[in-house]
Symmetry: D2
Subunit: 368 residues, 4 copies
């Protein structure tokens, strides 16, 4: 679960799990699809190969399999002479000395299927056991921003949105843009249409909220929770930035306004009056909602011709290539949710180990 | 070297190394200090404990030691009843169940000494072997920004700055602010003075350039070079955001403008006309300068009284605490440089392993 | 490649690789099968799912798939009430709280298929690039030992065997026992037949030689080469011991006899007059043949009834279960070879990284 | 704790810990020293540098420091021309290209100080929380064996010894040989005296018992508990073999005799009638005593002259070097105990994480 996590690589045993738990997010990877839509075809159907029996996890590795469609043979074309600008063609060749002949090989965004499938397992545990909810949504495309999302302070409007939005509500409200405000959503649709008509592309941002994460997650110094989240998000194809809580805008307001004062909270714990911390202080979660924003660049594959050089350094033009998706951020929403689930799952398991160790020291019965 | 790197944990053997190589960056951790300044006192002097002999690394682990000053006994005070807002006091207690009595314990920014000392070893290798240069500088404090740094496109002015700025030039030009523009630097000094007088604090951003990094660094999918950099930077205390290349602003311009067209480069390789990619494409470095920006929140410790709750949830006031550094970004510059060196060193060693494997396959003599 | 290795998890790019490279060792997992035998059926056929194109590795992860036969539904039987003595049934239940219903689940020796398949990739590289040869053979079953293998000193007879035996010769000479001496092989066959007739089982040992491993492999202190080998071998099901070079018997002879004196070797290097070190000194390979022995317990599943207790602690008898393989060591030979290949591959890649780093320091062109 | 463990690298917080907990085993590293002896001098005194406050662990990394004595300058001698046979001199030079000038550098057995010191932290936790006891003892020197230790079956005499021997009893009974039988101990002393008088050396074996380890430790497939133990033991300098439970001798008896039948145990669990498994089945501990044996070669440094070659390949004689310790196994006893503690601690923390995860799934309150 996750890349190179520190705790056991296996799912906790005894967790109810079937492919029906994993399929909805895989289906949501397509715009216009929600968890409720029956996919018209069997694309991206996931099958559990190992690690469960009778719908219960065994605690041993869980193999998941999603088939690719039959690969159409790649027709040789003069365009193969060009590394695509701002793509991975050139750098993969530099790094590996060989390059897959079609579609970017492993640099293809199709690899995100594995992330989303695996995260389904993590989310099953996190929601069942901790009541955790992870909801991402589009906060901007181009220069169109969800208004409440571009203030250094977390307004009560935005706070409410973060605490109440669900995937179902979002997909019902804005199945195409995944932006949780109707008016902004319309402007975004219009903007994307402009870029589509221009055979161009545009970027945007996705914000993610994690609700009900237990306090104590994150391993200072080097594996602070926000550092692990940043790592996970910047590993998603096409990402360019990450910010936690008040982020970059928060650098422009004074500490007296930025600090989150403590107030009495539930069960004798403390809560905070504001949440510029984004739920993480000193690298450790404090039980407040964790929220962060991820920047996505405009997709590099555009329909417009591009003046660029071939692999041999000969200047020329990479031809127009028909219609392409001008903006990926709506599709990125379940991928951002998936990476959040994987990071939090690892952190939960490490912290539960520490808690268990403390318990037995304090004379409580060992967790058994 | 670095936290949990994949390649051997030891420095390559045979590298010339003494504490004189490591001391300058440790000294720069203080504002107003440059590599040329002889520290008035022996503070933060580093000693090499193991791993070298006769000034040459042995290839075995290198132990470094920097002494702390004698700890003044912490006078008990009523202020100890309060977890400091937006600090790590509360979350460390939640996570560990115990908390160091003074100064934040391991959450103290003093832990950055270890990062900077270790990075000195990495930098010795990277500069000697690859001619690599890593230079960070302040790009904003509060709402005062280095003008060329807030455009989605990389202007030739900014590009030139990135390609020519050195630590020596920066410390000579702006020893206090570490902002490489005199006019902006003055505004920053004035702004910081305002916040100091108000017993408040303010945040800012630090940008870092890595020059002459070889192509091919970064391990897709999960350890893309920008993901490792993001992880490293967000592990630094007080950080709130990371962006690579064109970053967040780049999400607002179309692909036709954002894409970096290829042009013929030196030695039969390709270069790019623009560099919105920030030197990394598909998660792999492409030999262009790597540049990224890190956001630092306003320091949480301020002189103003703060209404907040005690550990027991009783509302009260955390008293004013005298004078504090209202802004940390100048001090963060060598820390950002250090983390960059550690990430790049790990990536270089992994890629060199891969290159060596390819060489021997191609019938070349094994690297020996 | 291997479990949790330190170097890049991917095969070096540019390596010729097809399933034909991997199939022979998978076929050898059955007694009586050699690399030359065409399997009568398609059992254990391996398919490469990713990571290669046109028969060349891309440097990205290689997915391998070997199908299981259709699982016959497990007929419920009173014997399911009993955890099998010296099997993993009881401990898996203790550890995970759930247990696979049939055949031991992940504790089944069928998991060794993955090891053997993956090792085929490692071996392709190691043989192509370093001319490495890894040959294992049975040195004992019960109290029948290959005579030259039970001396604390490495006799010239044994040394010659180690330096000349190949898998093809072994499988031709002793396809059933995989013991490289005809007379001993006959005694072994007779002994195994006795145990088979008695519906009982017996253990044995497998010795493995690695020829042409480069010097310098192994990472002191904790990942000494023999420590990694020991770890790998004791991870194989049914193993009970590991010894390197002169092993346990070597503890009984004096240092004056045990030490391996240096003598001039090829290319200005040193060789050793004897090789009680088993090719590893100070945890690092010295270019001599690496040889080690692995102990396998008698298989726990026997035809004889066993007095034992149910999961509920009720004493009873686990009934006879028909015919079972009384000895597994011949089948273990390719598994031992596989684990050796995986360990050496990891060590080679780490050392090649170190060498490459040294080279560039010494002013040689960077490996590129 | 331990090299490269998977769970959190930090000691659980809230554990009482002072240097007095760590000192005894460091002192025992010398023959004739027991935990009760006040060291006549301050050699090998350990100091805790970080990670505790007021004698309680904070949960953050614990730094330990043991000073070396002043290094006497190494007098140049003709003997420096020779790599010592069966030492690490030659292979370190091959691997690193440079070599420490004196005493073997990091290949020196003095590195075991770090292992023993760190293990003291692990043992504090394991004994306090799980009542775990780890006791090692010498089972052979040369061809003198503790008689009950060389049977394939675990006799009741040996079983009783394993269940009752303590470090205090052992050091009182045999402070010089650390063999728990007076008669065997005398023979060992005589044998060692012979080799000392001959300016030669001899090897031996150390057996270790771990009592009260909880069931469920070990992570199949690759990190089976015996595999981790094998790795740890073969990482100790001068080791040549490892066997768990019935070990190599167990390969010579039939399964009907070797299998450990289940019997009802305490608290509704199962116990075993015999314990050839050595407390580990399917790679997972089953709550029976864990016992294993480690082989140590004769020390390579002997007083006798040795015919060998110089680094340049010139044949000559490495001169006699005065008096040396002819046998190291008594000194190895606390080192074996230390490595066992480190392995078990890692395994305990991983399993406690899994247990904690299961608990919360089963509707129990999360461990908190």
């Amino acid at each position: 679960m996750g890349g190179g996590g520190a705790p056991p690589k296996c799912c906790p045993p005894g967790l109810p799990l079937t492919s029906a738990d994993l399929q909805p997010q895989l289906t949501r990877r397509r715009p216009g699809q929600s968890a409720l839509t029956t996919p018209r075809n069997e694309k991206d159907a996931v099958h559990i190969q190992s690690g469960t029996e009778f719908g219960i996890t065994l605690g041993t590795p869980i193999g998941l399999r999603v088939a690719n469609e039959d690969q159409r043979p790649h027709d040789y074309s003069e365009m193969d002479l060009y590394p695509r600008p701002s793509h991975a063609d050139w750098t993969y060749l530099l790094k590996y000395g060989v390059k897959a002949s079609s579609g970017g090989g492993r640099s293809s965004a199709r690899e995100t299927i594995g992330r989303v499938a695996a995260a389904g397992v993590a989310e099953k545990y996190l929601s069942l056991v901790h009541g955790m909810e992870i909801v991402a949504f589009v906060t901007s495309v181009g220069n169109i921003h969800l208004p409440c999302s571009i203030s250094p302070d977390l307004s009560s409007e935005y706070s409410t949105l973060q605490q109440t939005l669900t995937r179902e509500k979002l997909d019902a409200l804005s199945p195409l843009t995944r932006c949780p405000d109707t008016e902004t959503s319309k402007k975004i649709e219009a903007l994307i249409a402009q870029y589509r008509d221009a055979a161009d592309s545009i970027g945007g941002t996705v914000t993610c909220v994690i609700r009900n994460a237990p306090a104590g997650l994150g391993e200072p110094c080097f594996d602070k929770l926000e550092a692990k989240l940043a790592h996970a998000m910047l590993s998603i194809p096409a990402t360019k930035g990450f910010e936690i809580g008040s982020g970059f805008l928060g650098t422009e307001i004074p500490g007296s306004r930025h600090n989150d004062a403590f107030i009495p909270g539930p069960n004798g714990a403390l809560s905070t009056l504001t949440n510029n911390s984004g739920g993480i202080q000193g690298g450790i979660s404090n039980a407040q909602p964790i929220y962060f924003k991820v920047a996505f660049k405009p997709p590099a594959t555009i329909g417009q011709p591009q003046k660029t050089a071939t692999y041999d350094g000969v200047q020329g033009t990479l031809a127009a290539k028909g219609r392409h998706d001008p903006c990926v951020v709506a599709r990125a929403v379940p991928i951002v949710e998936a990476m959040a689930a994987l990071v939090v799952m690892d952190a939960v398991m490490i912290q539960q180990s520490r808690q268990a160790a403390r318990n037995v020291q304090d004379g409580k019965k060992p967790c058994s």
